[in-house]
């Protein structure tokens, strides 16, 4: 399984953890991860600690999620990405819509 999700009730946060490759193969899984999101959720964190690379469809997936949930979710975050991926998010101006740390 290259995608895990869990919901943290205390923090009202949906955490999506992606393993290894974040690419078009995950399109359906990634969408499923947030379609039935808890109505109390206020934060979505995409944890890339175990992601070594991604393709441009990953950026598309993230933006689609952000568009789909922006009415409900106050904070979108991309966490624990490696330096190279952070640079790609920076180049793509993702920091305007996501908290990158």
């Amino acid at each position: 399984m290259s995608l895990n999700q869990h919901y943290d009730k205390e923090k009202n946060t949906l955490v999506i953890v992606i393993k290894d490759k974040f690419d078009f193969n995950l399109v359906q899984d990634f969408r499923n991860a947030y379609t039935s999101i808890d109505p109390d959720a206020r934060t979505v964190e995409v944890d890339l600690r175990a992601t070594s690379y991604m393709d441009s469809s990953a950026l598309g997936m993230l933006l689609n999620m952000q568009k789909a949930l922006k009415g409900q979710i106050e904070r979108f975050a991309i966490c624990n990405a490696n330096a190279q991926l952070k640079k790609i998010f920076q180049i793509s101006r993702f920091d305007k819509k996501f908290a990158i740390d």
Partner: protein
């Protein structure tokens, strides 16, 4: 062995008789004592004065000395301390030969090192009794010295072994990994080895990890468990694993390794690179605290789990404590040794004692707290390890891959994939793994993956499968697009994609050429979009990351150059 045998006593036939040195300037006295002693089966040596006596004690094995006081050259008073010095640590009894009227002299005899007196005229019974008594003491002293020697030998050996093991532990517990800044910690051991362990490390992605653990008991036995804990911790931090995963792995290892009554209470903590939030797995340590700079409690963090090494793997619980770190918030972790430190009245320092010490003034450090614990407990013996960790979270940079020297070998790689291969293979990750193995390329792996995957997917999706990117404009369309891709690819009967990768070390350039057998597209209409729309961000990113991107006239070939 020889010493003890010789001291066996004059009656023993097989043992050599004890040696008595008779020191007197009067030949008649010496003769008298010799015959008296030889009758008791002692071996007798004679000296005429103190100087000869000292010389004899040095060169011969003497068990007891009968010493006259008034002699030429070196009298008894002067000779006694020299004889004692020669004997070293062994008990060599000196019995002064004294006339009964010399009462004044008796005290002085003892002062200079004499052990007893033998009044003249000699009484055979008294002499025999005194000799036996002193020889018995000499034998006991010799045994005691032998035992002391053996004990100190074992002690030195144990110390040497401890030093060796300590060295191994120090190496095992400290890796050459970068450690997070802003951490102030103290471990003090109740025994030579710590039953407490503190590990910290920075992961490649800049995640900050901490582990404070307290094994049951202390000393060597407790410390043994620290080895697998450290190995698992560092290995998993290297791969950016989540703390719950690390805790689970350690739990499994300790459960397997340690006897049932031994376990490790521990808190594992991870701070994100920007130090804005923390996640803790807490098993069995006393409550941790989030404090402000003045030491006031912002949040109490309670342990939620059993200590590591108790539960079976399928019983393990991953629940975590998540905290948001306000500016200047501090995290305080400690083991129970601190709060259970007792004073002379047998009162405990306690959690309140610790919090009071933290709030005594702003920005207290571990040394302040330790001083407070010690002031409280006074001279009372430390019975457990005192360990304390204070974290002032600081943002950390992800570790940049070490800059390697770029390979100087020109290299080219080309492959063509037919329809069958395009259906079944996912060539980009494997190719990128190969390219990234060229010296100096590792730091560019993610960028190269994006470039090659973009070019390859464009060739496949648009060149061969004729999919329309416009679909990707909507969320549902995005999904539909990839569903169509899958269907179209499954039906692909003909066509091929050719990938050419060329590395030119002199220009520090990598050239990626992707050619498809499709009809081509009008690339002139394909401008990099200004805004990052979901569907267009691939092309835009391509232009940002690559040095040049160009297409052939037909539009079925893209040429990307990337500068390393």
């Amino acid at each position: 062995m020889t010493e003890a045998g010789r001291l066996g006593g004059p009656s023993g036939v097989t043992q050599p008789p004890p040696v008595v040195l008779v020191v007197d300037d009067q030949p008649l006295n010496r003769q008298l004592l010799r015959s008296l002693l030889e009758r008791e089966h002692y071996c007798v040596l004679e000296a005429e004065n103190g100087a000869d006596a000292v010389a004899l004690v040095t060169s011969m094995a003497v068990d007891v000395v009968l010493l006259d006081i008034m002699m030429p050259t070196l009298d008894g008073y002067q000779a006694a301390p020299q004889i004692k010095r020669q004997a070293g640590g062994a008990y060599l009894p000196i019995i002064f030969i004294t006339a009964l009227e010399e009462q004044q002299a008796l005290a002085r005899c003892l002062d200079v090192g004499g052990d007893d007196f033998m009044p003249k005229p000699f009484d055979a019974h008294i002499l025999r009794a005194k000799l036996r008594a002193h020889l018995r003491i000499r034998q006991l002293m010799a045994q005691s010295m032998e035992q002391t020697r053996a004990l100190s030998y074992y002690q030195r050996q144990t110390e040497r072994e401890y030093e060796l093991v300590e060295h191994i532990f120090a190496n095992a517990l400290q890796r050459k990994m970068k450690v997070p800044t802003g951490v102030d910690w103290h471990l003090s051991a109740a025994a030579m080895f710590n039953g407490d362990v503190f590990l910290s490390a920075l992961s490649p992605n800049g995640i900050q990890y901490f582990l404070l653990g307290d094994f049951t008991g202390h000393g060597l036995v407790a410390a043994v468990g620290a080895l697998p804990v450290a190995r698992i911790f560092y290995t998993m931090v290297e791969k950016n694993f989540a703390v719950a995963d690390i805790a689970r792995e350690i739990n499994q290892a300790l459960e397997h390794l340690l006897p049932a009554h031994m376990f490790c209470a521990a808190t594992l903590c991870e701070l994100n690179a920007s130090a804005q939030s923390a996640t803790l797995w807490m098993g069995g340590l006393p409550d941790a605290f989030l404090l402000d700079q003045q030491g006031r409690v912002l949040q109490r963090l309670q342990s939620r789990h059993m200590a590591l090494g108790i539960l079976e793997d399928d019983e393990f619980e991953r629940n975590l404590v998540h905290i948001t770190l306000e500016d200047n918030a501090r995290l305080l972790l400690y083991t129970d040794g601190i709060i259970e430190a007792v004073n002379e009245q047998d009162q405990q320092f306690g959690e309140q004692g610790l919090l009071n010490a933290m709030a005594a003034s702003a920005k207290r450090n571990s040394a302040d707290i330790l001083a407070a614990v010690q002031a409280f407990s006074g001279g009372h013996k430390q019975t457990d390890d005192y360990s304390l960790v204070l974290i002032d979270p600081q943002p950390q940079r992800p570790i940049e891959p070490t800059i390697e020297r770029l390979s100087q070998l020109p290299l080219s790689l080309c492959l063509a994939l037919d329809a069958q291969q395009l259906k079944s293979l996912d060539p980009v990750p494997e190719l990128i793994d190969q390219v990234a193995s060229i010296p100096g390329f590792r730091a560019h792996k993610s960028a190269l993956f994006i470039l090659l995957s973009e070019a390859y997917n464009n060739a496949l999706e648009h060149g061969l499968l004729a999919l329309d990117s416009g679909l990707k404009r909507s969320d549902a369309g995005f999904i539909e697009y990839y569903a169509r891709r899958e269907r179209a690819l499954a039906q692909l009967e003909s066509g091929h994609i050719r990938l050419d990768i060329a590395y030119r070390p002199t220009q520090r350039q990598l050239q990626l050429t992707v050619t498809d057998s499709g009809p081509g597209f009008n690339h002139r209409c394909h401008r990099p979009p200004k805004q990052y729309q979901g569907y267009g961000c691939g092309i835009a990113l391509l232009h940002e990351l690559a040095t040049t991107v160009s297409y052939n006239d037909k539009g079925n070939q893209v040429l990307i150059t990337y500068t390393l």
